[in-house]
C-alpha cells in the first residue's frame, strides 16, 4: 500500500484537517482556498442580519403568535464589543413587551440571532415545527414567540419576566465553527428574571441537520421543559436524562408521535 493510501485511511478517522499534503512549507492551493471558504461562511454567519419578517412569517405559519424585540446593542459592532448590551432590552422593546403581557404563562419562547443568523434562518422553524405537537399535547399556556435581534442568551431573562412566564426557552445562533456555521443552541431557564447566571440554565448545543437533529432536539427540549415546570428549577441540579427514555422501545414511539 502506498503512503497516499495509508494517509487517506487515516484521514477518514477524524474530521480534523489531516493528510493535507504540502507545497514546501506551505499548504497546497486547494487547501488554502477550502479553509478560506469555510472561514468566509463562518464570518458571514456572524455578520448576516437576521431576516426578522421572514422568520416571523415562518413561525406564524406553524400557528404561533409572534412579537419582536431588540437588545440595547444598536448594531453588530457594538454587539460584539459589549455583551452586556446584548443581554438587555432596548426601551421600545421593554415598553412593547410590557404592553403585550397578559395573564401568566407557563412558557415563553425566544428566537434570537446570537452569533449566527444563518443558524436561525435554517434551524428555528424546523425545531419549532418538531416541538409544536408536544407543546400542544402538554396543554401549557404559551406566550407569543419573540423574535429578538442583537441578542445574547440572557436577553431571554428580561423577555420571560415581562411576559410573566414560568420558564423561557431561547433558541439562539451559536458562535460559528469553521465546519459548523449553522449551529443553533437552546437555553432553558426556570423563573426567568435579569441576573440569572448560566449555572441556572440547561443547554442543548449543536442543533443542526448534521448535528443534534431538530426532532431529537425537540424531544429533549420538551423533556427538559416538563421537568423544569414540575420540579420548578433549571441548571446544574437538572441533568438531561431524556436519553433514558430514548433507550427504551416506548421512547421510539414518543419521537414518532
Amino acid at each position: 500500500m502506498s503512503p497516499e493510501d495509508g494517509w487517506r485511511r487515516l484521514a477518514a478517522l477524524t474530521p480534523a484537517r489531516i493528510a493535507l499534503g504540502r507545497a514546501g512549507a506551505g499548504l497546497p492551493t486547494r487547501e488554502v482556498l477550502r479553509f478560506g471558504l469555510a472561514h468566509a461562511q463562518a464570518r458571514d454567519a456572524v455578520h448576516l442580519p437576521l431576516g426578522v419578517e421572514a422568520v416571523r412569517a415562518g413561525i406564524a405559519a406553524l400557528g404561533f403568535g409572534t412579537l419582536t424585540a431588540a437588545s440595547a446593542a444598536p448594531d453588530r459592532t457594538t454587539y460584539l464589543r459589549r455583551p452586556d448590551f446584548g443581554r438587555r432590552l432596548d426601551e421600545a422593546s421593554t415598553a412593547a413587551l410590557t404592553q403585550a403581557a397578559g395573564e401568566p404563562v407557563d412558557l415563553a419562547l425566544v428566537v434570537a440571532d446570537g452569533l449566527s443568523a444563518r443558524a436561525v434562518h435554517e434551524g428555528a422553524v424546523p425545531l419549532l415545527s418538531a416541538l409544536k405537537p408536544a407543546l400542544t399535547g402538554s396543554g401549557w399556556r404559551l406566550a407569543p414567540v419573540v423574535v429578538a435581534t442583537q441578542a445574547r442568551v440572557a436577553l431571554g431573562d428580561a423577555v420571560g419576566a415581562l411576559l410573566r412566564a414560568r420558564a423561557v426557552a431561547v433558541l439562539i445562533g451559536e458562535r460559528p465553527g469553521l465546519s459548523s456555521p449553522d449551529s443553533l443552541g437552546v437555553y432553558l431557564t426556570f423563573d426567568p428574571r435579569p441576573g440569572r447566571t448560566d449555572a441556572e440554565r440547561n443547554c442543548l448545543s449543536n442543533v443542526r441537520a448534521a448535528g443534534l437533529t431538530p426532532d431529537l432536539a425537540a424531544f429533549k427540549l420538551h423533556w427538559l421543559i416538563d421537568q423544569a415546570l414540575t420540579r420548578r428549577l433549571t441548571g446544574v441540579a437538572l441533568k438531561d436524562e431524556s436519553d433514558r427514555l430514548l433507550a427504551g422501545p416506548a421512547a421510539t414511539g414518543m419521537i414518532e408521535a
Binding site: 500500500m1 503512503p3 497516499e4 495509508g6 494517509w7 485511511r9 487515516l10 484521514a11 478517522l13 477524524t14 474530521p15 480534523a16 484537517r17 489531516i18 493528510a19 493535507l20 504540502r22 514546501g24 512549507a25 506551505g26 499548504l27 487547501e31 479553509f35 478560506g36 469555510a38 472561514h39 463562518a42 464570518r43 454567519a45 456572524v46 460584539l80 464589543r81 459589549r82 455583551p83 452586556d84 452569533l115 458562535r175 460559528p176 465553527g177 469553521l178 465546519s179 459548523s180 456555521p181
Partner: protein, 459 residues
C-alpha cells in the same frame, strides 16, 4: 496617592496606580468593557508619561490587590527576590525600559526573580512592539522533562490532536500526521471533550503507549482539570505533565476551581512519579487576557496586568510550558487582529522577563475581526521574539474547540523563515527514524516510517 500629568492647558489626574496602569494600556475592548480604559488617546499617553516616572520600588510598595485579600498578591510579595531586585531598584519604569533594551541575556536572567508581574506589565505599557520583541528575544528560559525546551535558536511545538468525541483512532491519526511534520517536542497535548476520569485514563494510556512504541523523547498531556489529573495519578495512570488553566487573582482561580495548594499537591504527585528523564519540570499552564474580568474577579485592574500576575502563579511551580491562548476569549476582550497581536507580544514579553517559559497559542475565533493574515503576522513577530513554543493543530482548525490556531504547516514556515530548530533530542529522534535529514528538513515520502509502524490504523 494620585498621579498628574500636564499637557498644554489640560491636567490629567489618575487617582491611584491601578487607574494609571489601566489608562496607560494600549487600547483593547476588555478594558473598555470593564470601564477602565482611558477616555481619549491623549489621556492614554498622559498616563504613560506618568507611569514612566514611577520608581520601581513604589510599584512593589503599592500592591494593586491588597495582600490580605488575595493569595496571588501574597505569593508575589512573599516570594520576591530582594537581591535580584537590588540591581534595578534605583530605576523608574521609563529607565527600566532603557535598561532592558541594553541588558544582556545574563542580566535578564539574573533580575528575573526580582521582577514582579506589576513591574513587567508597567514597563510593557510604555514599550512599542519592537521593544517587546527585542527584549523577549534576549530573555531565554530553558526547561526539561524528557527533552530540552527553550534553547536559543529553537522553537518547540505542542501537537494538539483534538477530536470532537475523543475517538482514540481519530486522535492517533492526527498525532501521526503531526509527527510526520516534525511536531510534538513541546508535548503531545489533547484537549478532551469529556472531563471524566475514565475518559482521561484512556487518553493518557493512549499517549504513553504511543510515545513508548516510537520511543519519542517528548511528554504527553491531557488538558483536563487538575483535580481530575490528581485522581488519575492516585489510580496509577501514567501522567507526564499536569495541566491547569490559571489566572492572576485568587477569585479568578477559584472560579476555575483551583487553589495554590491544589496546584502544589498535583506538582508533588507528578514529581513522585519520576517520569522525567532529563529534568523535573512537570507542570503545564494556560492563561489568557480577560479571564479574570470574565469571572467577575478583576478588582478593577486592567486585563494585561492581571495576565502578568498569572505568570507569577505559574513561576512558583517551575513549569515546563506556559502559554497564553491569546485570541480564544473573543472580541469583547481583544477585538481585532491589532489587539490580538499586541496582546500576544505583551504576554510573551512579560512571561519571559519574569523567567517563565512562555509559548503562545496564536489564535482567533470567528466572531473576532481577525483572519489567517493576522495570525501569520503575529506568528512571524513571535518567531523573531524567540517564542518558546506554538501550537500545531491540523490545518489550523481545531474541530473540538471550534477556533483557529497555528498548523503543522505554520511551524514549517516559521522554521524556514527564521532558521529555527526543534528541541535537540526530538530533532535527533526525527532524523534517526528517517523523517528528516540531519539538518532537520523533512524528507520526501510523506511520513512513511510512521505508517509502517502503525499497521493497525493505516492499513
Amino acid at each position: 496617592m494620585s498621579y498628574r500629568h500636564v499637557v498644554g492647558p489640560r491636567t490629567f489626574v489618575f487617582s491611584d496606580l491601578a487607574e494609571l496602569m489601566a489608562k496607560a494600556s494600549p487600547p483593547r475592548s476588555g478594558d473598555r468593557l470593564a470601564g477602565l480604559a482611558a477616555g481619549s488617546a491623549e489621556e492614554c499617553v498622559a498616563a504613560r508619561w506618568c507611569l514612566a516616572a514611577v520608581p520601581l520600588p513604589e510599584i512593589l510598595a503599592r500592591p494593586l490587590i491588597p495582600y490580605e485579600a488575595d493569595d496571588v498578591t501574597r505569593l508575589i510579595l512573599d516570594g520576591h527576590d530582594a537581591a535580584a531586585f537590588a540591581r534595578i531598584a534605583h530605576l523608574t519604569v521609563g529607565d527600566f525600559r532603557e535598561f532592558l533594551l541594553t541588558a544582556s541575556t545574563e542580566t535578564l536572567s539574573r533580575i528575573a526573580p526580582g521582577v514582579t508581574p506589576e513591574i513587567a506589565a508597567a514597563v510593557s505599557k510604555i514599550m512599542r512592539n519592537q521593544d517587546l520583541i527585542l527584549v523577549a528575544r534576549k530573555a531565554r528560559v530553558v526547561t526539561r522533562l524528557r527533552n530540552t525546551i527553550g534553547l536559543p535558536g529553537t522553537l518547540a511545538v505542542r501537537l494538539q490532536p483534538n477530536h470532537p468525541s475523543d475517538d482514540p483512532a481519530g486522535i492517533t491519526a492526527a498525532i501521526l500526521d503531526g509527527l510526520s511534520y516534525g511536531c510534538g517536542d513541546a508535548c503531545i497535548g489533547i484537549n478532551p471533550a469529556s472531563d471524566s476520569v475514565q475518559g482521561l485514563t484512556g487518553l493518557l494510556h493512549l499517549l504513553a503507549e504511543l510515545i513508548d512504541r516510537f520511543a519519542i523523547p517528548t511528554q504527553g498531556c491531557v488538558l483536563t482539570h487538575v483535580t481530575t489529573t490528581l485522581e488519575a495519578m492516585n489510580r496509577g495512570v501514567p501522567v507526564d505533565l499536569v495541566f491547569q488553566s490559571i489566572a492572576g487573582t485568587q477569585a479568578a482561580n477559584a472560579s476555575f476551581g483551583v487553589t495554590l495548594s491544589v496546584l502544589k499537591e498535583a506538582q508533588e504527585a507528578a514529581l513522585a512519579l519520576r517520569r522525567g528523564t532529563l529534568g523535573d519540570n512537570v507542570m503545564y499552564f494556560e492563561t489568557g487576557q480577560g479571564s479574570a474580568l470574565s469571572a467577575d474577579a478583576h478588582h478593577g485592574i486592567d486585563q494585561q496586568t492581571l495576565e502578568a500576575r498569572a505568570y507569577a502563579v505559574a513561576r512558583a511551580f517551575r513549569p515546563l510550558l506556559v502559554n497564553t491562548v491569546v485570541g480564544f476569549i473573543g472580541p469583547e476582550y481583544l477585538y481585532d487582529g491589532k489587539e490580538i497581536i499586541r496582546a500576544g507580544l505583551e504576554d510573551h514579553f512579560c512571561g519571559k522577563l519574569m523567567g517563565v517559559p512562555l509559548g503562545v497559542d496564536v489564535c482567533y475565533t470567528n466572531h473576532a475581526e481577525a483572519d489567517q493574515d493576522d495570525m501569520d503576522t503575529l506568528l512571524t513577530l513571535l518567531g523573531a521574539a524567540g517564542v518558546t513554543y506554538i501550537m500545531g493543530v491540523p490545518g489550523a482548525d481545531d474541530v473540538m474547540l471550534n477556533y483557529q490556531s497555528t498548523s503543522f504547516h505554520d511551524q514549517l514556515y516559521l522554521r524556514e523563515v527564521m532558521g529555527l530548530k526543534r528541541a535537540p533530542e526530538f530533532a535527533e529522534w526525527l532524523a534517526r527514524i528517517g523523517l528528516t535529514d540531519a539538518g532537520g528538513a523533512l524528507l520526501p515520502g510523506g511520513g512513511a516510517p510512521l505508517l509502517a509502524a502503525s499497521p493497525g490504523l493505516a492499513a
